[in-house]
Subunit: 155 residues, 2 copies
C-alpha cells in the first residue's frame, strides 16, 4: 500500500468508526435506556453467558479497573438484578449471577438490542455483511493482541 492510500484509509476509518459508535450508542440508549444503561446491559450479558463470573474477569473483559466494576455491580445489585456469592474454597472470590428479576430484565433488553441490530444488518446482502464481520473479527483479534503486548511492557 502506498503512503497516500494508507493516509486516506486511516482518515476514513477514524471518521466512520466515530459516527457508527455515536449513532449506535444513541440508538441503543433509545431502545433500552429506561431499563438499563448500555454498560449495565453488557455487564448482565457477560454474567449470563459466563458460568462463574467474577469482578476481576469483568474488569479484564471491559478493560477498566476493578473499582469501576464494583461501582456498576453495586448499582445493579441494589436493584436486585444480580447476586453475589462467595467461593467456599477461596473466600476472597465473589461469584456474580443473575437473579430471576435480572434474567427477565436482561432478556427484555436483549430482545430489543437484537431487533435493533437485525434492522440494519438485514439491509446488507449476506455476502457483504459476512465479509464485513469476518474482517471485524480479525480486527478484534489484532486489537486484543496489541492490548496484551502493551500490558507485557510493564514487566
Amino acid at each position: 500500500m502506498d503512503k497516500k492510500t494508507i493516509q486516506e484509509l486511516i482518515d476514513r476509518y477514524v471518521s466512520v468508526s466515530f459516527v457508527v459508535n455515536k449513532k449506535a450508542e444513541s440508538l441503543l440508549k433509545c431502545q433500552i435506556g429506561e431499563d438499563l444503561t448500555t454498560d449495565q446491559h453488557y455487564i448482565l450479558s457477560y454474567i449470563q453467558q459466563s458460568h462463574e463470573c467474577t469482578s476481576s474477569e469483568l474488569a479484564e473483559a471491559f478493560d477498566v479497573n476493578k473499582s469501576a466494576i464494583t461501582a456498576i455491580i453495586n448499582r445493579i445489585a441494589d436493584r436486585g438484578l444480580i447476586e453475589r456469592t462467595r467461593d467456599e474454597n477461596d473466600r476472597r472470590v465473589v461469584y456474580l449471577t443473575l437473579s430471576d428479576k435480572g434474567k427477565k430484565l436482561h432478556q427484555k433488553t436483549q430482545e430489543k438490542v437484537h431487533l435493533l441490530v437485525e434492522s440494519f444488518i438485514t439491509q446488507f446482502d449476506e455476502t457483504e455483511i459476512t465479509n464485513f464481520i469476518n474482517t471485524y473479527e480479525k480486527l478484534a483479534l489484532i486489537l486484543t493482541n496489541m492490548k496484551k503486548d502493551e500490558e507485557g511492557d510493564n514487566s
Copy 2:
C-alpha cells in the same frame, strides 16, 4: 437470509463490536490520555475541520444534549485550548475555534491517533480493508438515517 444465519450474524456483530470498541477506546486512552480524553480529542478534531463550529452543531454530531457540549467546552476552554466568539449578526450564536495552543495539542494527539490506527490497518491487505471500510461507511449512513427517522417520529 434464513433466520438462523441472521441470528448468528447478530450475535457475532454484537460481540465483535463490543470488543473492538472497548479495546480501541482503551488503546486510544493509553496514547493520548495524559493530554486529552478521547471525547475532548474528537471535539477538537471536529472544531478544526469545520469552518464555523457551534455548540448546537457539536451536539448534533455527537448525539448528545447541548449542555453536555457546554460542559466539555468549558473544560477545554479553561485550559486555553479553544476560543469563543459571538456572531455579530446573531448574538445568540457562539463560534468555537482552536487557539494556537489548542492547534498544537490537537496536532500532537492527532499524530498519535493516526499511528495507532495505521498500526492495525496495515496488518490487512488493501482489498480487504478497503472493502471493510466501504461497508462500514454504508453502515454509518444507515444508522444516521435511522436516527433521523426516529427524530422525525416526534412530530
